[in-house]
Symmetry: C2
Subunit: 558 residues, 2 copies
């Protein structure tokens, strides 16, 4: 205890004698977080060869450990910087992560799987929401919780249906398992819009007059939210492409270009939040449009800088979230205010966790079966092993769940003691589920994928032929081609199909057809206005960096 006493004395001495004009507690909190971030990165780097661990889990454990130290130093009272702030999370930490995901996503793969992403993200989340709400209603009654109404149970359903897209990014590899990555991560992005709509709908719900119109209204709200959010993201992305192409920032400064891209992307998120749209959807599509048009309009240095700087910011933000969640879990005040027995806590947490498992299974298997029915080719269908991985990889719950749970249960103004205890219990149980799911699924997913889908990444070279279809052949003849298309679209889940006749290919492969017409439209109408690949305003014949000039930002993942 001597060390903790010394640290305590040191901190309090600094608080009183500090001649700095800054508030010492803020400085200490920031220093602590930055130190822990550095430690997470270094440790994460050192144990990278270990397939059970990754930076998220390292950060989570470091957060838990340092939260423990802070508690010891403070003598069991939680300190100010252990408290989770929704504002910090939603305004500063989440946007760069989602933007970078859109910026670096393999667009072709994403849009190829768009139907399954929408299906999972919308109907899947809805099924999971209904099941979890009903299940919680019956299970929690049995455990002995009494104070919740229908509204609270619906909120629990919405909160536990929000999958964590951040951890997915770290656990699944875009290069090794592109189909799984785009399906599970894409689902996570759409899922966010759905759960926020559901959560907000529940908030404004009048339980008495719930009828079929409410459901219709909900659907209408979702469609409105989905399309306006997407449109806003695309609009801001196009604005940045047009602005940078027209104003020609590169003439004077790379920094201006990078600053404008960064600021406009962030602005799209903020405007979406201001208009009560889904900022996550908006900034995700803004990232996609920026990587398709804007990124090609800037100088070579700006391209390298944005590619890595956005990835770095996102990487820091991700690590920060896990640190934060880890530290937040040790907020003793909250644990004490539940005043439940350990038995009740465990019962609630495990029923929540069971509901999450069942709720996801209940839509992954049926929806993939429906998807498989629409596919004629055996190679296009989703195998059972793949279904299992989709189910497994989407089980993680993360910071969005914690933030929503706080919003619902933390600021309980009810004077009823039972009610406030049960509200606190909900928050601690949610944190337990988040911690447990992140650690278990985060550490086991990589080994599991290796076991269930052996040598997944090794086939990527032969798979690259898959897209040498009509579309690519035409593109090869019609324009000066794009050497990266083959690799970019290379998906690994199917053995390469035998070459077929042009017409048959066109009919069989609908997504290729859509893509072909999109490319024609893009080349004829969009690129002349907004730039994009092939638009080379700066020293066209420059030999250096020719490799980077043609590749898309998605080739450089973390």
């Amino acid at each position: 205890m001597a060390v903790s006493e010394a640290i305590k004395a040191f901190i309090s001495s600094n608080r009183t004698v500090s001649t700095s004009i800054l508030d010492a507690s803020t400085v200490i909190a920031v220093s602590l977080f930055v130190t822990l971030l550095c430690a997470s990165i270094v440790i994460g780097h050192l144990i990278e060869e270990n397939r059970w661990a990754n930076e998220s889990i390292t950060a989570l454990f470091l957060g838990l450990a340092s939260g423990g130290v802070v508690l010891l130093v403070n003598g069991g009272r939680s300190s100010q910087f252990l408290v989770f702030s929704e504002e910090l999370f939603f305004i500063y930490v989440l946007p760069p992560i989602i933007f970078n995901a859109g910026f670096q996503v393999k667009k072709k793969q994403f849009f190829k799987n768009f139907s399954i992403i929408l299906m999972f993200g919308v109907f899947g989340t809805l099924i999971s929401f209904i099941l979890i709400s009903i299940g919680a209603y019956f299970l929690f009654k049995k455990i002995g919780l009494t104070s919740f109404g229908i509204k609270e149970y619906l909120a629990i359903g919405a909160i536990l249906s929000a999958t964590d897209s951040v951890c997915t990014l770290q656990v699944l590899s875009q290069d090794e398992t592109p189909f799984l990555y785009s399906a599970v991560f894409g689902e996570g992005v759409v899922n966010d819009a759905t759960s926020i709509v559901l959560y907000n709908a529940v908030q404004s719900l009048n339980v008495s007059d719930a009828d079929v119109f409410t459901a219709l209204k909900l659907l209408g709200t979702f469609l409105y939210l989905f399309f306006t959010s997407t449109a806003l993201g695309i609009a801001v992305g196009l604005l940045s492409a047009y602005g940078i192409k027209t104003l020609y920032f590169g003439r004077h400064s790379t920094d201006r270009e990078v600053a404008i891209m960064l600021l406009l992307a962030y602005l799209s998120y903020m405007i979406a939040e201001l208009l009560s749209l889904s900022g996550i959807l908006t900034i995700f599509f803004c990232g996609i449009v920026m990587s398709h048009y804007t990124w090609h309009n800037v100088t070579e240095s700006s391209r390298i800088t944005t590619k890595h700087a956005f990835a770095t910011i996102s990487f820091i933000a991700e690590t920060f979230i896990f640190l934060y969640v880890g530290m937040d879990a040790l907020d003793v005040d909250r644990w004490e205010s539940t005043s439940s027995s350990a038995g009740t806590s465990i019962a609630v947490s495990s029923s929540m966790f069971a509901l999450v498992l069942i709720g996801r299974a209940a839509f992954v298997y049926p929806l993939t079966s429906i998807y498989n029915c629409t596919k004629r080719r055996e190679s296009d269908k989703i195998t059972f092993r793949r279904q299992f991985i989709i189910w497994w990889a989407g089980l993680m719950r993360g910071a969005v769940t914690i933030a929503l749970s706080y919003n619902e249960f933390s600021s309980s103004s009810s004077s009823d003691e039972t009610s406030s205890h049960e509200h606190a219990l909900m928050v601690t149980s949610t944190i337990t589920v988040v911690l447990f799911s992140t650690v278990v699924f985060g550490s086991m997913t990589k080994p599991l994928i290796e076991k269930v889908l052996p040598r997944q990444g090794k086939t990527s070279i032969s798979d690259a032929d898959q897209f040498t279809s009509l579309e690519d052949l035409r593109l090869l003849f019609l324009e000066d081609g794009d050497p990266n298309n083959n690799n970019e679209g290379g998906s690994n889940q199917q053995p390469p199909p035998p070459k077929r006749s042009s017409l048959r290919l066109l009919i069989t492969n609908t997504s290729s057809t859509v893509h072909y017409f999109w490319r024609k439209f893009d080349d004829r109408f969009m690129r002349p206005v907004f730039g994009g690949r092939g638009f080379v305003p700066f020293v066209p014949g420059s030999p250096t960096g020719a490799q980077d000039q043609t590749s898309s930002p998605s080739t450089a993942q973390i």
Copy 2:
């Protein structure tokens, strides 16, 4: 007024019906600032050809304009986001600016002028502090202010002696006027340490027992602060170089390298603040060490990314400060609480301004004369025109002044009405001085330099020969040379001296001699441990980017 009513209605409607879980006022404030930042950058880009304007002044006026709109919308009450936050400024906005300045500074030029920088930064600031304090004591009494004691007057002296290093960065060009840039900007960095020591010393001063020991103690504190802050910055910089070289982050990820550099730099600032040192000095030297060692140990992509990403962040932060100061100036509550006549306000502001002018003149001319006496060669002396520019370019007062003034006069707990009015008057007068000096000196410095020192930048090619002295010749033979050294050290204030014999050159040019031994030390002891130029761990023969591999980050200024 219809538009303002509409905006008001829009804002308040969003505040009430917002279904977002975020606080609407935060979202509005962030959106507004991001929009204004974008506008400043675009407008700054468009008017760049205009030599009277720059991004700082654009941002300042945009801030004033939008502050005005906010006031109109709020019906004359200040809104929450108009209030200057010292924490925001010192913790988040200032560090990246100073770090980038250190990272991109031309090291040779900086160390060559180190003696004059120290002289100006320490003795200059001290002279200015004494003169302004005494002047304020007599002038303010005459104007009719009664409530201040000696302590307040000394605080005013410290506050008004803090020059603004941020605006200097924007107004002076490192490439066109390297001597002026390194002298005035370097002075600004050292000045910060001095004014903070002075300010803190004044805070803890017991006026009754002020004697010669107090002065000695003050000097001791300054020396302690200067050396520990510098040592801390160097230590953290070396740690980053050693860590990145040893751990070999580049093997897996460019993002980790960039993240570690960013986080360690920030950590150095935070540790310095935690230990009540000068964070600005620390992060400045950390930046210098990082650009000398760490930057050469990372991958090619990391080099390009850090060079531009750090510059971009700094650029955004600089623009933000001016926006913020502009908006802050319109905090009506503060203006109202002065309850002084316009005459008194103008009298106080103009006496402050006059004291700033005199205080700076009182040390620039004497100190440069002393400096000139130590130089035997006519070409090494500082001409009168150059003295004038040094005086002029350091007259700007900026955000540090505002922050210190707030700290001193804003949280006045005195119940005396006259006293609290006069405290408020000090804050508004400081803001007036800052605004006026930034606009006047910021817009007039560039044209003035062109007029006073005609065709300054055009001689840089011939000046590059200046350093083809013994030292460089030896370096050329001893090692595989550094093609950038010549340009990097190329200073423009002197005509190229005739080539002399080796020994004579060695004696005449002391700073070159020091530099020569430093290089030998660096090559033999430092570089084997910490890497640095010539340490190429990644694909040594790679033809792409060979140009960037040899250049230092300082070649890419905004």
